[in-house]
């Protein structure tokens, strides 16, 4: 049995580029200079935001809307999967999602997204950032914006955590001008928690403490003479790493009862969701669970049968019900995000290609109308016929749902930068 590497379109964007902790941290410094040191959390709506979290389940590559949230069973474009009813009368989703269908009363669907970009890299950029990166301006991703928008003093954990399969730690470069403080910290979801968080063999706690005292002394001495964003960011990252080490048990899903681990299915995806739930319990503002490989130009239906039905549905549905039963869904927004949909046309390899013209996402949890369906596509799923929205509306909506005023501005080194595209606003009728 072979295990060929995954390279759907031959695009470099498909490679999940997780740079190592310090390497990426350094990359982020250029953009951060003069930003993170002087920027401050938002001032308004603090009470409404308290304890809120956002969990993004990013299905990287483009899940098919036909085989998930907007089935067209009776159409020539619909494929072989049928639509099934959900717990919300009148809402049907793909039969590949029978467990999720039982959680629809906690959820909402947006079926009328048109984004126009069909390149993976460009499409991911706009859905993550709510605006398109231009040559002169990069925008922070949603995770960074939420981490900053929901930031609290003395919060012991990173505000933006991305879970990954391999268990390797790292730091993403996705906070743009907000700086590395808000960039994603990448952690694995395995028994045993984050790797490399134990002291090396032979290193005592006392010795380790002395090392850090010496580092702090040297840092403080340097900072008394020179104070730069780079130095502050370095310091911040070291202190954050130490706090992560102190809280390493939090990242060890092996502490969960066996029955809970079983309920989350012990798959790579399930383990990430379980870790996400543990992080939400700690009020981490933003958690992203990333699952790549959804780019089924070929064999679309077989792959969706396995990916959606066999591996997504059960753990995702349990995640939603678990959040609900623990009272966490009242303060957590869950977004099932992807970068575009798939073509109505079934191609010669029984695949579907990239399709940004009419696609869907699902949401659950706080700040949204449960059981809502926003927008509509035509009978074949080719065009949006009602309430067309795009990534800009979505970005505003995510932020508003957790109490962040998306019409506000970030104070970046004294410069006022709109949090989201000021020419757009949220999907008001979706907001609770």
């Amino acid at each position: 049995m072979s295990n060929p590497s995954y390279r759907p379109c031959g695009s470099f964007q498909h490679a999940i580029g997780r740079r190592q902790f310090m390497g990426d941290f350094l990359t982020g410094l250029g953009a951060a200079a003069g930003a993170s040191l002087f920027s401050h959390p938002l001032g308004a709506g603090e009470i409404a935001k308290h304890g809120k979290s956002v969990v993004v389940v990013f299905l990287d590559g483009g899940i098919s809307q036909f085989e998930s949230w907007d089935p067209k069973s009776d159409s020539e474009t619909g494929g072989p999967f049928k639509a099934i009813p959900t717990t919300v009368p009148g809402i049907h989703i793909s039969e590949l999602l029978p467990y999720t269908a039982q959680q629809m009363h906690h959820m909402a669907l947006i079926r009328s997204i048109r984004t126009d970009l069909d390149d993976h890299g460009l499409a991911k950029n706009i859905v993550r950032c709510g605006r398109q990166t231009r040559s002169a301006t990069e925008y922070p991703e949603l995770g960074a914006a939420v981490a900053k928008g929901l930031e609290r003093d003395e919060f012991p954990l990173p505000g933006h955590i991305q879970t990954t399969l391999a268990g390797v730690g790292g730091r993403a470069n996705n906070a743009a001008y907000l700086g590395p403080r808000y960039a994603g910290v990448v952690v694995g979801a395995e028994k045993g928690g984050v790797v490399n968080t134990q002291l090396p063999d032979g290193m005592t706690v006392t010795a380790d403490s002395r090392r850090h005292d010496w580092r702090r002394f040297a840092n403080d001495r340097l900072r008394s003479k020179i104070r730069t964003a780079e130095i502050d960011a370095y310091t911040q990252c070291y202190e954050q790493a130490l706090r992560l080490m102190e809280r390493r048990d939090l990242f060890d899903i092996g502490h969960e009862p066996e029955s809970v681990q079983e309920a989350y299915t012990k798959t790579e995806f399930g383990k990430q969701l379980l870790l996400a739930r543990r992080l939400v319990e700690q009020e981490v503002p933003f958690v992203e669970v990333n699952w790549g490989g959804w780019d089924f130009h070929h064999n679309n239906f077989e792959f969706h049968l396995h990916y959606v039905n066999h591996f997504f549905d059960r753990p995702f549905a349990y995640f939603i019900s678990d959040l609900a039963q623990r009272g966490l869904l009242e303060r957590t927004l869950v977004v099932v995000m992807t970068e575009f949909g798939r073509t109505p046309k079934i191609n010669v390899g029984y695949g579907r290609d990239h399709y940004p013209n009419a696609w869907s996402i699902a949401l659950a949890g706080c700040g949204i109308q449960h059981g809502a369906v926003i927008g509509k596509t035509d009978a074949k799923g080719i065009e949006v016929t009602d309430r067309q929205v795009d990534h800009r509306h979505l970005f505003h909506t995510y932020l508003q749902a957790v109490g962040i005023d998306s019409s506000g501005e970030f104070d970046v080194a004294g410069r006022q930068v709109p949090i989201a595209d000021p020419a757009y606003g949220p999907i008001e009728e979706l907001l609770a």
């Binding site: 049995m1 072979s2 060929p4 995954y6 790549g292 490989g293 077989e302 792959f303 390899g349 695949g351």
Partner: protein, 340 residues
């Protein structure tokens, strides 16, 4: 009293000799939905094809007259005939096995069997016509009485989706293949698993999650000494469809593997959705839009016949020189594999 004519007095009715390199197009019949499967009835009167629009299309070969058999509620994936050709069996992604009178003027299902497979993917008819076998997404192989549709036996053991099932020629023994490369030989007398062939080398696991390839179809050589599994291998990018069509044969007696057969000279992305044998021993297989021909023991195809659209199934007319193909573009085409 008239003198009986001798064969020498009559015009020759012997079919022309099979000649792969002489393969040429004969018929081209269109339907407006993509086709997944086709079969020619054993009397040679009809060719039938299963479509994505949930119908079966039936063409009378002599006239090209087309009829629609409606009854399935999802893609029609697999077809089979009784040995006398009077009965057509069809299986679909609605999980149902439908039974039809092949030559009825306005065919309606005469029996519907809910197989419980989810997607019914494989269907076979025993050579004595008494038994039907089906398999599908529930990983099960089931055997049914052709006479009354009663379930006779269930074979559990495939750890993943069962893609195809065939009767061992001249017996009620079965072989079945799954998406992770297992080929199981089930005994017809007691239902026990007799043995297993390992075809895992023609399957991949994508993203550590989804099987890709596996035993897409099975065929026996005319002498019954070789069991051929077909599908794909050399996957470099599964979601983009970069793979090569392949046949992997086993010695039926010993289980020993023969060298794989594929199109080496002409590299094409493809899945060998079906392989079948001509009585001469030449193996035919689907390679994307082309029909490949292989001689016994040769790894590379000695001839490739091009067609206008991706092929998803093929079947011989009982004259063994006319070949019918079902295509992605909704057409059924026929090809004469003979000179003249």
């Amino acid at each position: 009293m008239t003198t009986a004519a001798t064969p020498a007095d009559e015009p020759s009715t012997a079919p022309p000799a099979f000649e792969a390199k002489a393969t040429r197009a004969v018929h081209d019949w269109a339907h407006d939905s993509k086709l997944l499967c086709c079969r020619v009835d054993p009397t040679g009167r009809y060719v039938v094809a299963g479509a994505l629009d949930s119908t079966i299309q039936r063409w009378e070969i002599a006239t090209g007259a087309k009829s629609t058999l409606a009854g399935h509620e999802n893609w029609v994936r697999t077809l089979g005939f009784s040995p006398d050709g009077a009965t057509l069996y069809s299986g679909g992604y609605d999980g149902r096995l439908l039974v039809w009178e092949t030559a009825a003027d306005a065919p309606q299902p005469v029996r519907t069997i809910a197989t419980g497979h989810g997607w019914l993917r494989g269907l076979a008819v025993s050579s004595d016509g008494q038994r039907l076998a089906t398999c599908g997404n529930d990983r099960m192989v089931r055997v049914w009485s052709a006479a009354d549709g009663q379930l006779l036996r269930e074979h559990a053991g495939h750890p993943q989706i069962a893609y195809c099932v065939h009767f061992v020629p001249g017996s009620h023994d079965l072989v079945s293949g799954d998406v992770i490369g297992n080929v199981f030989h089930w005994r017809g007398d007691n239902g026990q698993l007799e043995r297993q062939f390992d075809g895992a080398e023609i399957h991949n696991l994508i993203g550590d999650l989804a099987p890709f390839g596996g035993i897409v179809n099975l065929a026996f050589s005319p002498d019954g000494k070789r069991l051929t599994a077909c599908g794909l291998h050399k996957t470099t990018n599964a979601p983009a469809g970069n793979r090569r069509a392949v046949a992997l044969s086993f010695d039926w007696a010993t289980g020993e593997k023969y060298p794989k057969q594929e199109s080496l000279t002409k590299e094409l992305d493809g899945t060998m959705w079906r392989a079948l044998y001509h009585p001469s021993g030449v193996m035919l297989g689907i390679v994307e839009k082309e029909i490949g021909f292989w001689k016994d023991g040769e790894e590379d195809a000695f001839h490739m016949a091009a067609t206008p659209s991706e092929i998803y199934d093929l079947d011989f007319h009982p004259n063994q020189i006319d070949l019918f193909t079902a295509h992605y573009d909704g057409h059924v085409r026929s090809w004469r594999c003979a000179a003249g």
